[in-house]
């Protein structure tokens, strides 16, 4: 046993996806495009128009972009740490990461909204944005003599904070009612508009476009480069290429961290140009990595169901399950930290974001809106329940429970994005997410279909990686 031989690949491990996968991919793309058209139709019919479709599209673009970025992160980080165990399953992450050019194409509608939407999606993109008193995004200069009338009886802190900003909030006295929350938030935003001009140099159309060109170029470049070289190992010098990819992983991770942070600011934080959170980037990253691990687990399970990758064992699922568990907790840690800092500081320019999502005791009732329920679903469904039930090691090795939690967490990750984006459109309660789910099918159909087509172009396992034997023989001691 000391001289045990490293296991070798079986023939089925090297099998490529066939015609069935290709037709699945093409069907998926067609379904996706049809669903996107249907989403526009439903949005128009339900009175949401292009505005609701835009928010729904950003929700789902952000969702699938996060999975693609999570795949890139897993590729980079497994190279950075020379993770031997991951080699047998890494090709899946490489294919996900190499799907980034498709996400670049799917980004075009967002750009169209920026250039042609006149602020319907991103208020800062409106032509009238810089003009004072334009619609409900009116700006109030600090020191302006704003009429001070306060009917709020619930919170001393809000009044104090508002006085600090040289303006008071006019609210109609309807504590507990939906109108109360909504008008309160609108007034808050109006008073806080003076914070926006400082962001003006950053939130401009050309700079937004330039940044996204840079992000997508870096991500696509890294994703394609890693997949290309991983495939090249099968016919070339595997050790040399592994060294090269490992060397690139260090600056690659730095670039990844910077770009994902600013991309998250741009894509979802700037939907509301008043609000800001310095933890936003890492919050988006935490969900991304979680979702990518979940997708890897499901993709591997699905492939094995069709007889591919027989050498991927419970040991690999155990490790992916550990990562899944870790990112559940990491997401909770970051989400709570972001909430607690904002809640503790209690500054009106940031805390209204949570008020908008029903996390408030304004009006005396902690359950002020429909979004309150969604927030609680996230607390329990995205953190507490999966944390407790993913804890035992046998769950991570189970072929029934691990995919169940992967599906569960992907659903929760979607709810998270829905909860981030849609309150900008519908407050104080969510609408039935018809357009949003059609967009999920739409963006998802195109993104998943293209990823499957990409997966048919090479083998499903990194057969040329010099650490493959180590990965196939990998055993978890505990």
């Amino acid at each position: 046993m000391a001289h045990h031989h490293e296991p070798v690949l079986r023939d089925d491990d090297k099998r490529r996806l066939g015609a069935g996968a290709r037709s699945f991919g093409l069907t998926s793309i067609v379904v996706g495009i049809v669903a996107l058209v249907a989403a526009v139709g439903v949005s128009k019919m339900s009175g949401g128009g292009w505005e609701r479709f835009g928010y729904a599209y950003v929700t789902n673009f952000g969702y699938f972009l996060s999975i693609t970025l999570g795949g890139l992160f897993l590729v980079l980080v497994t190279h950075l740490f020379r993770a031997g165990w991951a080699v047998a399953v890494r090709r899946i992450a490489e294919v996900i990461a190499a799907n980034m050019p498709v996400m670049a194409v799917l980004f075009i509608p967002v750009l169209l909204y920026v250039y042609m939407g006149d602020g319907v999606l991103y208020p800062w993109a409106a032509k009238s944005f810089d003009e004072p008193s334009a619609g409900h995004h009116a700006s109030v200069e600090p020191g302006d003599d704003v009429q001070i009338v306060t009917v709020s009886t619930e919170s001393a802190s809000h009044e104090d904070a508002a006085v600090d900003h040289g303006a008071e909030v006019v609210v109609d006295a309807d504590p507990g009612g939906d109108g109360f929350v909504k008008s309160r938030i609108e007034n808050h935003k109006m008073v806080l508009q003076h914070l926006v001009p400082g962001k003006r140099p950053y939130l401009t159309r050309w700079f937004f476009t330039l940044r996204w060109v840079i992000y997508l170029a870096i991500w696509s470049g890294l994703g394609l480069y890693y997949l290309k070289n991983s495939v090249a190992q099968e016919s070339g010098d595997g050790v040399k290429l592994t060294r090269r990819l490992e060397k690139l992983a260090a600056p690659g991770t730095l670039l990844f961290a910077l770009t994902i942070t600013f991309a998250a600011f741009d894509l979802m934080m700037s939907l509301d140009p008043v609000w800001f959170s310095t933890m936003w980037g890492v919050y988006y990253f935490a969900g991304s990595a979680l979702a990518a691990v979940a997708v890897m687990i499901l993709a591997l399970m699905a492939l094995q169901r069709f007889g591919y990758l027989p050498s991927v064992s419970a040991e690999h699922y155990h490790d992916l399950g550990k990562l899944l568990f870790m990112f559940v907790f990491f997401w909770g840690y970051i989400a709570f930290s972001q909430f607690m800092l904002i809640w503790y500081a209690n500054l009106p320019e940031t805390n209204y974001w949570f008020e908008l999502r029903g996390i408030t005791s304004q009006g005396g009732n902690p359950f002020v809106s429909g979004w309150t329920c969604v927030s609680l679903v996230l607390l329990f469904g995205h953190l507490l329940i999966p944390f407790a039930l993913l804890l035992p090691s046998w769950v991570k090795r189970s072929r029934v429970l691990l995919p169940f939690w992967a599906v569960w967490l992907l659903a929760m990750h979607w709810v998270d994005h829905w909860w981030i984006v849609m309150p900008n459109y519908s407050t104080p309660s969510p609408q039935l997410p018809t357009v949003e789910l059609l967009c999920l099918l739409g963006v998802g159909g195109v993104a998943v279909g293209c990823a499957v087509l990409r997966a048919t172009r090479q083998g499903l396992i990194a057969a040329g990686d010099p650490r493959l034997g180590e990965s196939l023989g990998h055993v978890n001691p505990y």
Binding site: M1, H4, A156, Y344
Partner: protein, 208 residues
Amino acid sequence: MTQVMDPPSLDSATQSPGKLHGVIAEFETVNDIMRAAKKTRAEGFKRWDVHSPFPIHGIDAAIGIRPTILPWIVLICGITGMLVGLALVLGTMATDSIDLPGLPGAAAPIRGYTFLISGKPFNSFPAFIPVVFETTILLSAFGAVFGMLLLNRLPKLANPLLKSVNFRRVTADRFFIEVQALDRRFDKDKTTEFLKGLGAVSVELIED
């Protein structure tokens, strides 16, 4: 080749004949020790171990090492830490007054520090979570470290096996099976014969 050596071979003058600790059997190769370990396990011994210069792939399964109970110790410590943390923050920060009439000496009601912090209620749970989290982690870590030491009976300043000269090669090129006298199936003569039968290079009785 097989020989039974009498215990203390080294500085026997200072040694008084002590309690029997157990018996060790020496093997030359990994394959020998793996085969012997499987047979020893099959024989039904419970208090025995394999000593080796390096980790042997698959030896845990051959010995039949059961999962440790350490996670349960850590869980209990973690829950204790959580309750302690909750009691601490709620008792000091969120307690207006608690009457404990039954408690001798507690004439006045217990009062917490009713600090008004940025207009929040005294019982502001989000602010308490970091404290509760930290005490949970602290006691869990204590449970893990001290539980591990306790389960391994550490610190142990001396091990009777170190008295054996033959056993010194366990750090270089030999493999040993140790069967402790505490085992219910242990019998000085029968166990020695059994180990000899496994193909040991040497079998040695160890006294405490």
